[in-house]
């Protein structure tokens, strides 16, 4: 048993820079401690270990941020990231919600990853990622601190995403000058990617326009065991066992992985044929064991006649987008920038 682990660890180390390996392995180690066999989660230790950063109204590298409590009942927080402008290099702390000035300002609603159980909007890894997106896309980014499993199961995360979408859509200060509308994109990684899909569905039902979906290594699954799950189980930081644990923690009790939340185009899925679904950019890491599900998602969109672009990063592992020290990172960032910029 130890021997095959040795091989796995060495293989793993070959494909990512050392500091990335340290970062993700450390997460893996911590997460192993936090998941209990009985399905409960050591939330205190999780919050203790998570590295967080405060919002900062003082610009750093051209980006400032502030938190907003958008729903008191659920203590729903969002962290808003804005670029400084030429006219206003130092944001007016008295009016952080000053109207955007450009003709077209993309507003990216971001859902952080963590398999529905880990991380927060103020986790350092996600604060950093959101800041990058601001500069990259000349966008305002709204990162949603959605409720997490297992304390809050389906559909809490989607409900919070929906609340955030409505809130963003109704902010006059986020409207682009061109058409007095908020130009909304949904983006997320891992569980956040999953949330993107489901919130987009709700948007359509309610007539809110979403201009595009960005799914980074989105978390999908199903009852069936796929080839990639067999081949890659335990090889690149992730095991099938932990994937199963997180679905059991998120899905309603008694439901299996063919529930539409987990498997949107599966036996209990909802077709998106004939509806005005946003164009999608889906990034799949070639060393992610759930890639078959992610690829099936892309196929599902295509079959339904929806616009989707797949970015398959062959040698990428999970979390490659957390550190700017590899080619996949830069390639994906460029694509995202093009995807969001194409509406200007």
């Amino acid at each position: 048993m130890a021997r095959s682990n040795e091989v796995n660890l060495n293989e793993c180390k070959m494909v990512v820079p050392l500091n990335t390996w340290v970062l993700i392995s450390n997460f893996k180690l911590a997460y192993n401690l936090l998941r209990r066999p009985d399905g409960t989660f050591n939330r205190h230790l999780a919050e203790f270990l998570d590295r967080k950063v405060p919002a900062n109204a003082t610009p750093v590298d051209g980006v400032f941020s502030f938190d907003v409590l958008i729903d008191r009942g659920t203590s729903l927080l969002t962290r808003i990231y804005r670029p400084v402008t030429a006219e206003e290099p130092l944001p007016d702390v008295a009016e952080l919600e000053k109207p955007v000035t450009a003709e077209v300002v993309p507003v990216i609603i971001f859902f952080h990853g963590g398999s529905f159980a880990h991380s927060s909007a103020n986790s350092a890894i996600y604060d950093t990622l959101c800041r990058r997106l601001v500069g990259l896309c000349k966008a305002v980014v709204v990162s949603v601190n959605y409720r997490r499993a297992p304390e809050n199961r389906y559909p809490c995360a989607y409900d919070d995403g929906w609340t955030a979408l409505k809130w963003v859509n109704s902010r006059p200060w986020l409207q682009s000058r061109k058409d007095s509308k908020v130009h909304i994109y949904l983006a997320g990684d891992s569980s956040g990617g999953n949330i993107v899909h489901h919130v987009a569905l709700r948007a359509i039902e309610s007539g809110i326009d979403v201009l595009g979906n960005i799914l980074l290594n989105p978390m999908f699954g199903g009852e069936e065991r796929t080839e990639s799950e067999h081949n890659l189980d335990g090889k690149y930081f992730v095991t099938l066992r932990d994937r199963d644990w997180y679905w059991r923690a998120y899905l309603p009790e008694g439901e299996d992985r063919d529930h539409h939340a987990c498997n949107p185009f599966g036996p209990n899925g909802r077709s998106v044929e004939g509806i005005k679904f946003p164009k999608s950019l889906v990034v799949v890491a070639g060393l992610d064991l759930i890639q078959d599900w992610q690829l099936a998602y892309v196929e599902g969109l295509k079959k339904a006649g929806q616009e989707v672009k797949l970015l398959y990063m062959e040698q990428a592992t999970i979390g490659f987008y957390l550190l700017p020290n590899n080619n996949h990172f830069h390639a994906v960032m460029d694509e995202i920038s093009r995807f969001v910029g194409s509406d200007c």
């Binding site: 048993m1 130890a2 682990n5 040795e6 660890l9 180390k13 070959m14 494909v15 820079p17 050392l18 500091n19 390996w21 340290v22 392995s25 450390n26 893996k28 180690l29 192993n32 401690l33 209990r36 066999p37 050591n42 205190h44 230790l45 919050e47 203790f48 270990l49 590295r51 967080k52 405060p54 919002a55 900062n56 109204a57 003082t58 502030f66 938190d67 907003v68 409590l69 203590s75 927080l77 702390v93 008295a94 009016e95 952080l96 919600e97 927060s120 350092a124 890894i125 950093t128 601190n145 081949n231 062959e314 040698q315 957390l322 550190l323 700017p324 020290n325 590899n326 080619n327 830069h330």
Partner: protein, 609 residues
């Protein structure tokens, strides 16, 4: 699976020279890696909250591999032990953190006393006395079975009330107790008051300390109220403050009147905050400075209401006590020097925890320091008596001395009757007191040097997490407006409206001081953790880390509070912060004199080889 390495950039050997990349993609990449090698720390990981030296990266990776391997071989109980029993410290310092995890698992430390060849640190990272919040099954404390041979029977046996350990002691302890006891409470020493400085209207700001404390420029802001009126009110307040900053007092006067009208139409926390800030601005404009210091009995009452209403003081006391308890582990005689005595509300819980220590409590000595009271009452004495009575009922040998001082800077180590550190372990405690010293040049340095002379095992510091001490008035105004808005918002959920009002008055006095006062009178000179870290570091103190057990219990404490949902605890490099909706508001940190090799290492996570 084919592995194509050509387009990958494996992490270069730090000792190898860089080659210039040709394509733009590669150039970008090498740039990043070059940045990594410039300074000691890996910059990319630093941004994500992890401090790892580039030169240590391989070693850290090795530890991770070792841990992975060990965790595979250890059974599930080993992992659950690591998760629930072990105390984790300072996860940012990866190397040390992983090392302490390894020492927990290798050799398998199922022996609860950690006797089998484990280091002192490993023993310390094992189970600690979790006595503040006992598990649900524990019974209510009634009497304790102790041998009283060596304990002086000084008091008449006071009636023993039931202590419910689940309740954080507050009002319960201060039911009227008979005052017939006097006993081992030394008479107060009154220190020579420092000469009052003549009232100075807009004196120049006190000189920055000699080592140039950098002002912290991180401004964490949370907006809890997006209403239109709220925004207009904030605008008016800011405009008025700006007018004051520019010494345009006519404009300021006109604006401050406007604020009054706007505030009326506002609801809730925003209205109250605006009113306090407006009043403070008015005082500044009209030069009607509030009397300093406060009438003590009123200040006491406000303090107690604040203690009851919201978790800030309880969190402060609780986390400080946790650190003190850890530092006092294994000590037979302990001495707490409290810079923030007030009504002594911090100490019953510590004394009870000490009473429950396996092996029995140490002898407990308390020196309480506080300002003089105006009505000539011996309030420090009274507090001491009450604590003495508690000590009696829980059978803890107790000694008390109260010191009255106008300023902590008036204190000298020689006054305190310190005993040799081999005989008695010292803890120095300061809750919301140190920042006041920044109002007089040299005061904080004096106090730090006196503290070092006390040779403490631990120094616990709790301070507001904000920079209200910048040189520019407008900046201070803005910072404090956001800070107190958040604080007031957190009070809105309070159950008792009387407590809430009193707490608001309590905080309102602070607001007034920050905004209306200057020079030696402006004592609410809050500074952020980063700033305090720099000060304490420069003064020759090194951090003592608070761990996951304190974190967890603080979290559980918060859950007991109504409106608890918005409160949260955060760990920051060994310090604990209490915040409202992720905005940190107060911070507890612990310290000891640097290079103190005799001090117990048990409170830290470092494994000594």
């Amino acid at each position: 699976m084919k592995r194509d390495h050509n387009h990958l950039q494996p992490n270069p050997d730090p000792s190898s020279s860089l080659c210039g990349g040709s394509s733009t993609g590669k150039a970008r990449l090498w740039e990043e890696e070059a940045a990594q090698q410039d300074c000691g720390m890996d910059e990319l990981l630093a941004v994500l909250g992890y401090k790892v030296k580039t030169s240590d990266m391989a070693e850290v990776a090795q530890k991770l591999e070792q841990l992975e391997e060990v965790m595979c071989n250890v059974q599930d109980d080993g992992i659950s032990h690591l998760a629930s029993e072990t105390v984790h410290y300072n996860p940012s310092d990866l190397s040390t953190y992983l090392e302490s995890m390894l020492s927990e698992l290798v050799p398998p430390a199922f022996d609860p006393f950690g006797a089998a060849g484990t280091t002192a640190a490993a023993a310390a990272t094992g189970t600690l006395v979790d006595s503040f919040l006992p598990p649900a099954e524990s019974s209510t404390l009634t009497t304790l079975d102790f041998e009283n041979n060596n304990r002086k029977q000084i008091f008449d046996e006071a009636s023993c009330s039931d202590y419910d350990l689940k309740a954080i002691p507050g009002k319960a302890i201060y039911d009227s107790l008979s005052s017939s006891t006097h006993g081992n409470v030394k008479s107060e020493k009154r220190l020579k008051p420092t000469s009052e400085s003549p009232p100075d209207i807009f004196p120049p700001p006190p000189p920055a300390s000699s080592f140039g404390i950098p002002t912290d420029s991180i401004r964490p802001v949370i907006l809890v109220d997006s209403q239109e009126n709220g925004i207009r009110l904030v605008h008016a307040l800011m405009a008025c403050a700006e007018a004051v900053q520019q010494n345009n007092l006519n404009l300021a006067e006109a604006l401050v009147k406007q604020i009054g009208f706007l505030a009326i139409s506002q609801a809730g926390a925003m209205r109250k905050v605006a009113t306090y800030f407006a009043e403070a601005l008015a005082r500044r404009i009209y030069r009607l400075y509030p009397k300093n210091p406060l009438d003590h009995s009123l200040s006491d009452v406000l303090h107690m209401h604040f203690y009851e209403t919201c978790p800030y003081l309880k969190f402060a006391h609780f986390t400080a006590n946790q650190a003190i308890l850890e530092a006092f582990e294994g000590k037979e005689r302990v001495h707490v020097i409290d810079f923030s005595m007030n009504q002594g509300m911090q100490w019953p819980a510590l004394m009870q925890a000490l009473a429950l220590r396996p092996g029995g409590p140490p002898a407990f000595r308390l020196t309480g320091i506080g300002p003089p009271s105006h009505d000539n009452s011996d309030h420090l004495q009274e507090v001491g008596w009450k604590l003495a009575q508690l000590a009696e009922t829980i059978h803890v040998e107790f000694e008390y001395r109260g010191f009255v001082a106008n300023s902590l800077a008036d204190l000298d180590a020689s006054m305190l009757d310190l005993r040799p550190s081999e005989v008695e372990a010292v803890a120095v405690n300061s809750v919301f007191e140190l920042h006041k010293l920044l109002a007089r040049p040299g005061a904080i340095d004096k106090v730090f040097s006196v503290v070092k002379q006390m040779k403490p095992e631990i120094v616990t510091v709790v301070e507001q997490e904000a920079n209200h001490n910048g040189p520019v008035f407008l900046d201070r105004f803005t910072e404090s407006l956001h800070y107190y808005s958040t604080l007031f918002d957190s009070l809105e959920g309070s159950v008792s409206s009387q407590d809430k009002v009193m707490s608001e008055v309590y905080l309102g006095k602070q607001i007034c001081n920050v905004v209306a006062c200057e020079g030696a009178d402006r004592t609410e000179r809050h500074e952020s953790l980063t700033q305090w870290r720099n000060r304490l570091d420069s003064a020759g103190f090194s951090p003592v880390h608070l761990g996951s057990n304190a974190f967890k219990q603080a979290g559980m404490l918060l859950a007991l509070f109504a409106g608890g949902d918005g409160y949260g605890v955060e760990e920051n490099n060994g310090c604990l912060m209490l915040g409202w909706h992720n905005r940190p508001l107060i911070t507890t940190s612990a310290w000891k004199p640097a290079n103190d090799t005799t001090a117990s290492a048990s409170a830290t996570s470092t494994v000594t080889h």
